[in-house]
């Protein structure tokens, strides 16, 4: 696995398996993802889509095999390097994971504060992202006062504000109506155009097909059963 030969290689999985107790959630996944790719991970519930995303940012850290993210070997990563790895990602969670006691602005600015950015930069950047996603008037709102679609937009804004090189989205449109879902995917597509690698786990393949050209990876029972370029 010499990444010098693959200068655009962003993610490499080699024989990756993940067990929960005695049950294998992922079985021998081998996969290369280049910088700037748009990947749809599809499959039925329990296929291992979320688990695959989680081991990439080490929310699940006990796995077999090798994973390289932008040159970092996840099997050998130290606890001090873990925040550095995670700052490479912008993550959109299925359940949004917004802090209910903090405002929309504070939820988004957290990423930049954690990265040690200056307050003036944080203010400028957060307001810019909120404008782009059409939520600038809701900056002072608390997450629980927002609709599901609005909460998801805030979650996406938080994922992109740190200008990550990889965006991971776990069922980002799962609980949204088709208009809100389309808006979210269009927003992510804008970042894809800027060269960001995007991985979306979703069972809604139809919606994905009409969004953007990318690669589809189909999982079933923890195995990768198909990888194809989407028409």
């Amino acid at each position: 696995m010499n990444e010098n030969n693959n200068k655009n290689l962003m993610i490499r999985l080699f024989n990756v398996s993940k067990r929960f107790g005695g049950k294998l959630a992922l079985k021998d996944i081998t996969l290369d993802i280049d910088q700037g790719e748009f990947i749809f991970i599809s499959g039925p519930s329990g296929a291992g889509k979320s688990t695959l995303l989680k081991i990439l940012y080490l929310a699940e850290n006990m796995f077999e095999g090798q994973i390289l993210i932008d040159g970092m070997n996840l099997s050998r990563i130290s606890s001090s390097m873990l925040p550095v790895l995670r700052r490479k990602f912008g993550i959109v969670f299925q359940d949004f994971k917004l802090i209910p006691t903090r405002t929309v602005y504070e939820n988004i600015s957290l990423v930049l504060e954690a990265a040690g950015r200056k307050p003036a930069f944080i203010k400028k950047k957060v307001m810019q992202v909120l404008r782009n996603i059409g939520m600038e008037k809701k900056a002072a709102a608390m997450p629980l006062t927002l609709s599901g679609g609005e909460q998801q937009r805030v979650a996406v804004a938080r994922a992109v504000v740190g200008e990550p090189s990889i965006i991971l989205a776990d069922e980002p449109t799962g609980s949204l109506d088709s208009t809100s879902a389309r808006a979210i995917l269009d927003f992510l597509a804008e970042y894809h155009k800027k060269g960001v690698t995007i991985l979306i786990a979703s069972h809604d393949l139809h919606l994905m097909k009409n969004t953007i050209q990318g690669r589809i990876i189909e999982l079933n029972d923890g195995r990768m059963i198909r990888t194809d370029i989407m028409p």
């Binding site: 940012y57 990602f89 802090i99 209910p100 957290l110 307050p119």
Partner: protein
């Protein structure tokens, strides 16, 4: 840093009840410790003031005559640690007694001879050190012509025994309350941490370092400790202002003595200790949580 401070203040606001309870607990512990320190500081001053700053009386045997005085003074001076020696003859002593007992002098007139001995009044330099006084008194007593020496050994010895007993009890109580405050602070931080598990998890996932996550908790602990210390000392000061003049008047019958509040040095030490207590409680909790 400003971010951490803002965060800590916001966290304190959102957990008002828990924080108030912790601050009150710390303040009570600090109050108990401060009461003991106030007692020790003032009692120390009583000991300092005993016998007008280390005066002792050396009573001489009947064989003493005035020709022996220069030699005796030199001998006592050679023992060191003495500031002043004043000779009081038995005649002067009787005069002083008569003056002091003006209404009851009739019985003194019936005396056939002066029963009082010649004496020397000395001023001891290291009068704060009871042990040193005892050693010096022993040396003086070995001089042939000296009959006895009086330096308040009876009451001072008893007083010091009681004082030392109080001191040990005080230390034990201080230690107990310190541990109690530490335990409460550590648990408050633990509860605050668990109430923010989601927040901490999200922080980790967006790439926050442990320092970034822990810093507001530490600031919270330090603020709790500092405010607890201030509140405890404030309560003591108010109580002191209300009752000190009454105690001073009651004591005035026995001794001229004014009760003073804690010295600036002690106040600073108490505030520093309570702040440290807040930090240490936080440190213990977070160490356990992040293990």
């Amino acid at each position: 840093m400003i971010h951490f401070l803002k965060r800590a203040v916001a966290d304190i606001r959102s957990n008002k009840f828990l924080n108030i309870i912790t601050i009150i607990t710390i303040s009570l512990s600090i109050l108990v410790v401060s009461v003991f320190l106030l007692f020790f500081e003032n009692t120390g001053r009583i000991i300092e003031a005993w016998n007008q700053g280390g005066r002792a009386m050396i009573y001489l045997k009947d064989e003493f005559n005035i020709d022996m005085l220069p030699q005796l003074k030199a001998k006592i001076n050679s023992l060191g640690d003495i500031d002043e020696i004043v000779y009081i003859s038995k005649i002067q002593a009787l005069d002083i007694l008569k003056k002091n007992m003006t209404p009851q002098t009739i019985f003194l007139k019936t005396l056939k001879e002066n029963p009082l001995p010649d004496a020397l009044e000395i001023k001891i330099r290291s009068y704060k050190n009871f042990k040193a006084i005892q050693i010096l008194a022993q040396k003086i007593k070995t001089i042939d012509i000296v009959d006895n020496i009086e330096y308040g050994q009876g009451w001072l010895g008893k007083f010091l025994k009681i004082f030392n007993l109080f001191k040990i009890t005080g230390y034990a109580m201080c230690g107990f309350f310190f541990l109690m405050a530490l335990f409460i602070t550590a648990n408050t931080v633990r509860l605050a941490f668990y109430s923010r598990t989601l927040e901490v998890d999200i922080m980790r996932l967006v790439g926050a370092t442990e320092t970034f996550i822990k810093a507001p908790f530490y600031i919270e602990g330090i603020v709790q400790g500092f405010l607890g210390g201030l509140l405890g000392l404030g309560t003591l000061l108010i109580t002191y202002l209300m009752v000190s003049s009454g105690i001073t008047q009651s004591l005035a019958t026995y001794v001229y003595f004014d009760i003073r509040f804690l010295s600036v040095k002690t106040v600073v030490l108490i505030i520093f200790s309570s702040t440290f207590l807040g930090w240490f409680g936080c440190y213990l909790s977070l160490k356990q949580i992040f293990r």
